[in-house]
Amino acid sequence: MTIPAEIFARTNFGVLDWAIVGVYLLVSVGIGVYARSFVNTMDDFVVAKRSVRTALGIASMSSTELGLITVMYSAQKGFVGGFAAFHIAVVAGVVTLLVGLTGFLVVRLRAYRVLTIPEFYEKRFGRKTRILGGCVLALAGILNMGMFLKVESMFIVAVTGLEPGATLTTVMVVLMSLALLYTVFGGMVSDMVTDYLQFVVLAFGLLAACWFAASEVGFDHAFQAVAVLKGEAGFNPVAAEGAFGPAYMAWMAFLGLVSCAVWPTAVARALAADSGATVKRIYTWSSIGFLTRFLMPYFLGICALVYVTEQPDLKAVFFPARPGTQALDNLYALPVFLSHILPAGVIGIVVAAMLAALMSTYDSYFLTWSSVITQDVIAPLTGDRIGMRARILITRLLMVGIGVYLVYWGLFYRGREDIWDYMAVSGAIYFTGAFAVMLGGLYWKRASSTGATLAILSGCSAVLGLSPVQDALGVRLPSAWVGLATVAASVVVMIAGSLAFPDRPRARRRG
């Protein structure tokens, strides 16, 4: 639909706010470029020489896993599902706490002293498994971040009151250029430093946004309004008429586990930690971040829902009464809400916080996917004959290539699913297989390379959960069922493949 410009034009974002955002961006990029002088080896570039301690690890993991994209898709879930969406946050926090207390997967993985998860595949199962795993990981990871740029640019356009329409593409290009600038130069060192800065700005910015949202809507009123709008389904995640249900909750529990213990951008913090004990401490304390990275944006999305439904002009565009009229994309609800309620000055700080969230996510994701392609696909295929400087150069060039892809994908992908469900399914192409391979490789001596290969390939079937793929095949399957079935299939083929085709004793590496 045509976006009504007058809704965006009502923003409180002004000159002072532009100045705040500008200063923040200059400082952030400057630090990233400065950190370049400390990068000398691939170890420096990818895992910061494994010198990261607890507080910095928590800051880095929290800010990486709490991007502007997280805020946007979580606010969308809160807008659609109400307080019932809180169950996703609780499950994520509890599962991360359990990983922190037990060290499940991550402590054993760190003990292998690898740079990436596919490098573990090689040490445990052989080079072919590493290359296959690296290809699938990079494919899924890059596909997973395909919608980041567009959604985040939608936030910037709406909250700043820029002219909707063609401006979106310009904002996408500018954001991408800024994110590439300091990630390309600094690697994990600048990643860690800027993550710290961004955690500070982001944490207090998000808390301030929640405070202002609760003040505007009324904390108790938000609950009363959702009760009126959605009834039991707005609170009970297993309510029959709700948006979730038991299968969705089970899928979210699994996602909570893989998000912290299998997803490479989170695991990179475990690999960069200075000891196994630090890994456990980082995960234990980061469980608070994994809880609130969903909880606070859900709350903001719910407040946006209440606000929108109580403003006649906004209600008319987000929930048009006339049949056949297309509603405005509900991803715009949060930025429109924030741009209307936050006073000048405060909105600049909050937008700087959101840009901080954006930057911290991009630098980690660029670094992870490009280093996986360099270290786990290109280097093994060339017999490890590539020197250190060439590896860093290739990694940097890959980052630029991924950036170009993000602009293209954001403009042309057309899916029906919520952004969170798109990300869950695209990520599942990697993590369903990887979970089975890591579980078998780290805890089962009889796990074989054939079982690992079959599990990785089995995970690719998760692509069936994407709506354009289902449209092409003429089927309709809930993404939660597709995801859970893929997990089960990957574990089964890992076990069956290992039993049927065990590795030769000499070929078996470390169990």
Partner: protein, 58 residues
């Protein structure tokens, strides 16, 4: 439904309070961790390093 409302109110308030405490602590301690990380990085410029990570097994 009343039970769910009480539960989600408690979860939100406890979660944000914990996050506030964590944010204060990480802000205070994180800066010294950044300085330690940079001091750990500096020697590699003098001694050089391999292109690969250590091959040590767990």
């Amino acid at each position: 439904m009343a039970g769910w409302i009480v539960l989600w109110k408690a979860v939100f308030l406890a979660g944000t309070a914990l996050f506030f405490g964590l944010a204060v602590w990480v802000t205070a301690r994180g800066w010294s961790d950044v300085r330690r990380m940079f001091s750990a990085m500096s020697p590699s410029r003098k001694t050089g390093s391999t292109t690969r990570s250590s091959r040590a097994r767990p």
